[in-house]
Amino acid sequence: MANPTGWKPSMEKGAAPGADALDTGLLGATRGLAMEEPLVFEQGSPGRIGVSLPPVPAGADPSAEIPAALLRGEIAGMPEMAELEVVRHFTRLSQWNWGIDTGFYPLGSCTMKYNPKSSEALARLPGFAGAHPLLPGSMSQGALELIWKLERSLSEVAGFPASVMSPAAGAQGELCGLMMIRAYHVARGNPRHKVLIPDTAHGTNPASAAFNGYSTVTLESGPDGRLHPETVAKAMDDDVAAIMITNPNTLGIFESHIAEIAEIVHAKGGLVYGDGANFNALLGVARPGDMGFDVMQYNLHKTFATPHGGGGPGSGPVGVAEPLIPFMPLPVVVKEGETYRLVTDPKERPQTIGKIREFWGNTGMFVRAWALIRELGPEGLRRVAELAVLNANYVRAKLVGHYNLPYETETLHEVVFDDKLQKDAGVTTMDVAKRLIDHGSHPPTVYFPLVVHGALMIEPTETESKETLDQFVAAMQAIAAESKTDPEALKGAPRKTVRARLDETRAARKPVLRWTPGMKVE
């Protein structure tokens, strides 16, 4: 780490680190002073109360005022705590947490990029944050203008004539896209029965298809990790409603045959759905609409740097090609002269699939995404994709040889390794992932995509510095070396977290999801 002064805090004279002192991870992780914390139910004291209430007036009788059926008696096991205890409880739990603001988070396919605080500040402007969804249009012109402008921008960036703004997240965007595809086929007299999905797809793709009554046909990728036109041609017939393609795919590989594949599907009357989960790799460089996609969801919480959770919900607008515009869900925002209007009445759009989300979409996320687009501008958006690809390829180049690369095809914004080189020592992808925590990094995505056994899927995103990437690479290389010299150490990782190697199998087989008074857990 850059440290021009070379200054380091030193220990007091005569003091020595204890035998249990932990080393510092290559991304800076130490144990620090992390507090053990019982459940809220296991704390407090009977009769303790965290708020000041006026005394009960003399002679007060609740049963005289409240019907007996609505009167509640004692609540067994209700925590009785002071305000300070409650604050400490949740503060301590929050300190066990990991987020992009804490450290590196290379979770492949999730695009865990930094969410700029300027976007947060703008989303908190009272005019946006306090706007009630039932305000009349005349009093919501600013919010409507922003939705309209973001819709125009997203459509332009992805190459679609229009975009649906209301879906709440990526998976709902997919669902919405498939609903429009189904409505399109129904309007032409036959909903069709099948959806084609490559074996590299996200699990949400078959789920969205199944939710719309389609059966899925899995297409095998070629030895280069790409989907090949002849595979699609063989599976394509008049009963296929659509193909769902992620580009670049979950191996980080660009589907270079996409135009030809789209032609094959279109020739038989099918549509091409784009899973926009990996759109970050193409931003400002290539447009899915130009590649032959008919629909694509955007995932504002990935590509456009809105929070993945905690700070707010996701948001999954959907770009659509001309033939699908009549089926878009309501509401949509239209511009009429200098004013903006919400179209909510199906009479105006008789072929609409209806409403898929209460109110108008996650507008707080729209503000953040719009702020990012305006801050970066066209050149900046292009730099996002270029740097995301550069960062992933830097990590790839540095880790080749230390980890096995199952597909050697060039990759874009993410790279997938596996644990083949560690296997002989009995070290698995899970061990590598857990050990990485001790160094101070969130692990990459593991065991996905399914076409790679023991996959380690790394997506650094564009917002990480070279220094952070170097630390991550050093940690991954150290783990590869350790897997040869001390594989047992990896089996016990992580050591620095408050909870060590938790038994995920038991948690999945015998989950305990709810605390009850007097419960006994083995």
Partner: protein, 129 residues
């Protein structure tokens, strides 16, 4: 790895024990090992009709969720219900206690298309290359 010779196999890593037109189905030793600890099994109901090559259920491990593919077409006549509460049986005893369903096969020709133990072993070795 153990691939008993008296069983038939699919390229999707299911095994089939053929007794007349009754075909017992489970997942192979290779499949359970590749999946890791199985934590959840979703099976069809008795009476459901399955088609060769199409999914009849789902097996979930701590690593992945995978579809189960029917080795033959026919009607489901038995289901190993205890697996739902004891999914670890699939790991512990994939060929006996870990069986999943029994299909009453409707097309004897399909049986000939399944792999024998040696051919499946070869297939697995090639896949691991």
């Amino acid at each position: 790895m153990n691939f008993p010779d008296d069983l038939k196999y699919t390229r999707d890593h299911e095994w089939a024990r053929v007794q007349g037109n009754r075909v017992t189905v489970g997942i192979t030793d290779f499949a359970q090992d590749a999946l890791g600890d199985v934590v959840y099994v979703e099976l069809p109901e008795v009476g459901d009709v399955v088609k060769k090559g199409e999914t009849f259920g789902v097996v979930e491990s701590t690593k992945a969720v995978s579809d189960l593919f029917a080795p033959v077409s026919g009607k489901v006549v038995e289901v190993n219900a205890p697996l739902v509460d004891a999914p670890e049986t699939v790991n512990e005893d994939p060929y006996e206690e870990g069986w999943m369903i029994v299909i009453e096969s409707t097309d004897a020709k399909e049986l000939a298309e399944l792999l024998d133990g040696a051919a499946y072993r070869k297939f697995v070795e090639e896949e691991q290359e």
